[in-house]
Amino acid sequence: MIVNPETIPSRPAPASRRGIIGWLRANLFSSPLNSLLSLSGLIFLAWALPPVVQWVFLEANFLGENKDACTSEGACWVFVSARFQQFLYGFYPDTELWRVNLFFFEMAAVLTWVLWDKMPKRLWGGIWFLTGFPLTSFFLLYGGFGLETVETHKWGGLMLTLVLSLVGMVIALPVGILLALGRRSDMPAISSFCTVFIELWRGVPLITILFMASVMLPLFVPGDIELDKLIRAMIGISLFEAALIAEVIRGGLQAMPKGQYEAADAMGLTYWQGMRQIIMPQVLKISIPGIVNTFVQLFKDTSLVLIIGLFDLLAVMQAGIADVNWPNVAIEGFVFTGFVFWLFCFGISRYSQLLERKLDTGHKS
């Protein structure tokens, strides 16, 4: 017989499992193969990093008026700084730039309001984001109420990229949710309509959709109504993204245990109450990675509007490197725009990870 009445007190983990040494051992040198990979990684970095740093920072020229300012071996960031206005605003008139700046500012403010959980009255922030913000942005950017009209073909650069992405995301999410619910509906008319819609839009490349929006849509719109090229692009992008989002959401809906629907039903909630209070909050939570993936994709895909003659950030840059006054700045141009796109996408991705951690209620089932 064995009797062991004393409780054994907990001891700290051995030193080899703690601190920096412990971390290194666990993560980089846990096995011979792992150590070999870590070492080769370090050697590669030691070989590749110094030239990059030299090109980007140490031997680069930053300020100046034209190509002559680029005297050293490294990157010619003068190209970027000299054309910064175009990169940001496209061909927006000089005197009206304050309007775009105000738009940037409002966007930053309202996004902070909605996305940062320490802000007060975030519900109102959300309502403003979906109603007041689009309206004020429209008047600011396009004109009206005494503001001079700036036609959309003058819009461009990062501003256009942001406008297209925001419109795309704001329309695609709710439309995508409705399409996903519709596709699972018991009513054959609704479910077949949604299925056909989703499969049609999802199965066509975005380039084709943009071409059709710019070339074919005018043929179907009656008479003298001329739909703005930018609006056509927005509709095309939004519906394309909505179809993608719908499938992400449908995946989330399918992952929900049947018991959740049954409990909601059994308590007497209506279909929409159950969806709003029980199903969608959980579905959106588990769909965050998929939704964010689609949004990141959308943000980058907006650069395809280049082919229908809209000048987003990438298009403005490409026009810039084609300029005869700026020979040999293609690398700088692509590195810079790539970096800007990456910065935004990385931001979206980090925020989504934060959100996932915050929404985790310790439930796994």
Partner: protein, 265 residues
């Protein structure tokens, strides 16, 4: 086993033996098919107000299907189901009306994992009964106290044990002030030491005169609490009797076989 049954029997001396004559639930000639599979065959059952029915039978015999027809989680194809004077039809208003009055407790609790325990309890009163939040929270705390978990009110279901979760699920149903409670194997997913805490809550409910239909294989519970025990097999009600004669003197061979199987371990 026998001693435990005796103990449970003694502890519940307050069970009301009088049953009112008002009919709460009636199923008349109910038939249901899943595709070609005839899952419910000519079910006739009347439950009076305050009555406590225990339903047992082998797995797949249609017990869950039967009680799920009562709140229209499943649709029956033939026959009539009345709940508290309302006949179940395809009319959504009708169905929602009945669901307000019928609480249901599931085998796997089905709590809402994204809401706290308190929010789980106040959701339906707020949205279905249009109750002000404060009132709903006060009532919810009252019921959480009754099932003895008031201090977990602000935790999430994922942080509770199975027994605690099932007690929350019971409290959540009670918050709607239901006329009837349906239980579908409420203790089958629980570890043995948690079964009692849930059964205790159910016994207490019975003492207060709640109309209950319980699908369960807890025979001790059936003996102490039930007015009638129903045995189902192959989608039929095979035998229906008061608990004493049902357990001591089962009539049909299938009932005898079933009882000998579940009481033998």
């Amino acid at each position: 086993m026998q001693a435990e049954l005796q103990k449970q029997k003694k502890s519940a001396v307050n069970i009301p033996s009088e049953v009112e004559t008002e009919t709460m639930i009636s199923l008349k000639g109910v038939n249901k098919w899943y595709g070609d599979f005839h899952v419910l065959k000519d079910i006739n059952l009347t439950v009076k107000k305050g009555e406590r029915i225990v339903v047992c039978g082998p797995s797949g015999s249609g017990k869950s299907t039967m009680i799920r027809c009562i709140n229209r989680l499943e649709e029956h194809q033939e026959g009539e189901i009345d709940v508290n004077g309302v006949t179940l039809t395809n009319d959504l208003k009708n169905i929602e009306h009945i669901r307000k009055d019928v609480g249901m407790v599931f085998q796997h609790f089905n709590l809402f994992p994204h809401l706290t325990v308190l929010e789980n309890c106040t959701l339906a009163p707020i949205w279905v009964r249009r109750m002000p939040r404060q009132e709903a929270e006060a009532i919810a705390m009252q019921y959480l106290e009754r099932v003895q978990i008031p201090c977990q009110a602000h935790k999430y279901p994922g942080q509770l044990s199975g027994g605690q979760q099932q007690r929350v699920a019971i409290a959540r149903s009670l918050c709607m002030n239901p006329q009837v409670m349906l239980f579908d194997e409420p203790t089958s997913a629980l570890d043995p030491e948690m079964i009692k805490e849930v059964l205790d809550v159910m016994v207490e409910l019975a003492e207060e005169g709640m109309t209950m239909i319980c699908v369960t294989h807890e025979m001790g519970f059936a003996r102490t609490v039930a007015n009638r025990v129903i045995f189902m097999d192959g989608g039929q009600i095979i035998e229906e009797n008061a608990p004493e004669p049902f357990f001591n003197d089962p009539q049909s061979d299938r009932t005898k076989l079933f009882l000998s199987q579940i009481l033998s371990h």
